[in-house]
Symmetry: C2
Subunit: 216 residues, 2 copies
Amino acid sequence: MKVLVVGANGQIGKHLVSLIQESESLTARAMIREQEQASYFENLGAETAVVDLEDDIDAIAKAAKDVDAIVFTAGSGPHTGKDKTIMVDLDGAVKTIEAAKNANVKRFVMISSFDTTREAIQGASSSFAPYVIAKHYADEWLRDTNLDYTIIHPGALTNDKGTGKIEAASTVERGEVPREDIARVIAACLENEATIGKEFQVVGGATLVKDAIDSL
Amino acid sequence: MKVLVVGANGQIGKHLVSLIQESESLTARAMIREQEQASYFENLGAETAVVDLEDDIDAIAKAAKDVDAIVFTAGSGPHTGKDKTIMVDLDGAVKTIEAAKNANVKRFVMISSFDTTREAIQGASSSFAPYVIAKHYADEWLRDTNLDYTIIHPGALTNDKGTGKIEAASTVERGEVPREDIARVIAACLENEATIGKEFQVVGGATLVKDAIDSL
């Protein structure tokens, strides 16, 4: 299964491409913004496609040609302006979803935020609300498609080394989770078709990633 | 016909409430953010409802109780941060649409931007793109409802005195239009059920507002 990783140069993305390249059943195409980022992924044996999420749907669809799945793990990040939140986290996600349709890629794994419900928007601080709103509409857009989607809602992301153990369910108590473990969760979803049509929250826990995902 | 004007204290909103109060068939309820803004509208004989568009859907639905139509003419304006663009122009609009459904108000007039197509997003400067994206998704959300909507796409808004004459069609050449004339266009749409399900661009022109709207 060939997987287009959108946001490959991000922290989750880098872990994910490594995991994919180590796996027996998956291979990665890293979608990156700058040509200079390519060598890192080429050294892992992954393909690369240079596309900016501010480009149009056609450019993304071209990057998705002949892949079997798309993972959206791009994010504008905390150091960009709020204008990037709507351009990347919302519109970049929606364009990637539309590109999946256009390129006939059915499988789509979305890395969302822990809670993107209407209630979470209303409860968010005014500095965090724009991000929650962007993720809310991106998730809504995906749910409204016929794609074989999985939506992952991670807890507070850390750069700690992964433990390989998580807790995952429709709703779990808020908590932290290493980015490396989220990459493992994504890979486990790609390898388990039973996760199609599902969405779940995930934090650090006591259950091996594969077992937690298999029992969703 | 009682009309809830969302964004009544804005420049189009103020013109609109005046026009509505002068008309024989319409009366206005001005939705405003601050109690201090109420006296202006009370002096025009309009009702008022104090609701912030960052409040929840229930608060907006309560303001929409027993009205026959809702006009969304709120905007975050050029002097607020980009965070307000997604919170007001997108999420505020969607919450108002959902409030219309919840309050069983079928008629909805949306003041959009001149061009909110995907092509317009891709062609916009990076400082204008967030606004176009926000309006794009708000329009899409409205089109996807069963509401009796009209979407108005005005050209570049000016504070010039209205001429009472416009050009309106699915697409027209880009141009300016006084806010006062947009208020007239809104009132004309409210008084003409044939505009339900339609959307159109409007700039200054040579045709009386009523005739231009009637011939859409």
